[in-house]
Point group: C2
Chain length 253, copies 2
DNA sequence: CAGTGGTCTAGACCACTTA
DNA sequence: AAGTGGTCTAGACCACTGA
């Protein structure tokens, strides 16, 4: 039951009570919560009020609802740790990029689809690639799947000057991928920088990545620099926040 | 107006229309949306339906509502880029840790409060620190503020074996901080690994960090290893997803 | 078929902001 | 005082799931 005189809104009291029951294990991961009608009686509030409470828990990522079935405590997803260390030249020579090899080694059947197009650089792109705003760029749009499920979105952009006449402007970049073709063309990669952030997905991203309510995306922008410090490529990646974790390692001195 | 026969729920149609008006600039960052009553008339739906639509936009982080004032398009926060490269011994020798120096250089008045306590390692901690579950650990709980506002939460954990008799068990660890004291005690740090993820905040975190609806937190778990590869410390950090971006750099080979 | 969540309405009253 | 969002009700009907 809710305390009417406390000043705390009823739906928050209900949410707090359910949240506490979840964290103390009264409801375990995978368990079904009482139905909305049952909660209505238990707390003596109207159904919209119960739904407000459940909505709150959904946007916190604590529960998911399934139409016709019930509301369930969201079990933690199995987290893939992605170590950022295997972009070395040696590893690249062997395959078509980190993703395919990685997925295969985990027992997934990986697949990717790629679209290539050409655009003009906007402010952000121009800044990362150290080119003029409006300069022509090559854009490679990638959707990565594991067992048919979309697990990662990636958009790679390069100044067109570096890609003209190379397989980078083709859908199939060939053995070793984009980075290998850059080096074929004499652009030797010396350094990577990744910028990592998080935000809520757009509705499009949420449906593509099949994200439940209350699951953010991790955004990674990787910029590849030549040995002289010239930006060669930027790659915007989007990952499901509940399924991926990025690991970075460096030496103390 | 909404299309009643389309099968798409009315509140989604309203949300989609408002979302589109935000992304195309009909409403710019900082602009006030029409009031809920006005939207009720414009789309010919009830107020709860309008509120459902606005709630959706709030949990996407697109708008914020202010009681008594209105609903506003959320302006992008200024993003602080944190480069993970300044944990070098040289830099540490000069100050009390990266945060204080960093904030000061940006013109903020930084402050931190620390609590020290002792606990037993749970599964996750035991795994990261390569110790037995239940082993005694020293926990340093830190709240970091810039101009009085909480900007970061950090919980540092070390096997108690490494901290007994050192200033790490005191609130003030002295010049150079925890890492310097570890090295005083003969534990030389050789390597760092950071694990980065994202999730929605708990209500506690949201109020501490003053997060708006629809803003995730970035979680960083940094583990410091000795030169022999022994885990010395793990540090769980929580940052506001709309204000921070982490940058990592490494060489191609 | 019964039970579940999903959508929607037409109100009511409250709390807060601004003028 | 007027206008805003915040809370809450008591229904109704729909869509989906599973026995």
């Amino acid at each position: 039951m809710v305390d009417r005189r406390s000043g705390v809104p009823a739906f928050r009291q209900v949410a707090a009570d359910l949240r506490q029951k979840i964290s103390t294990g009264t409801y375990s991961p995978g368990d079904q919560l009482p139905s909305e009608r049952e909660l209505t009686e238990a707390y003596d509030v109207s159904r919209p009020t119960v739904r407000d409470a459940i909505n709150m828990l959904k946007s916190e990522g604590l529960v998911t609802s399934e139409h016709g079935r019930g509301v369930f405590v969201r079990p933690p997803a199995t987290i893939q740790r992605i170590a950022r260390a295997r972009l070395s030249r040696a590893a690249r020579a062997q395959n078509k990029g980190a993703f395919l090899a990685d997925a295969a080694s985990r027992g997934f059947t990986p697949s990717t689809s790629v679209k290539v197009r050409f655009e003009q650089a906007d402010v952000r792109v121009a800044e990362h690639l150290a080119i003029e705003e409006g300069a022509e760029i090559t854009v490679r749009d990638r959707v990565m799947r594991a067992d048919g499920l979309v697990v990662q979105l990636a958009v790679s952009r390069l100044p067109r000057d570096f890609t003209r006449g190379t397989a980078i402007e083709e859908v199939d970049t060939g053995n070793g991928g984009t980075y290998a073709r850059l080096e074929d063309a004499g652009q030797v990669i010396g350094r990577f920088i990744e910028h990592v952030g998080a935000r809520m997905p757009t509705p499009d991203e949420a449906s593509l990545l099949q994200l439940a309510d209350g699951v953010p995306v991790v955004t990674v922008t990787r910029v590849a620099y030549s040995t002289e410090g010239k930006p060669l490529e930027m790659n915007d990646m989007i990952l499901a926040g509940d399924r991926y974790e990025l690991s970075y390692e460096w030496l103390a001195d």
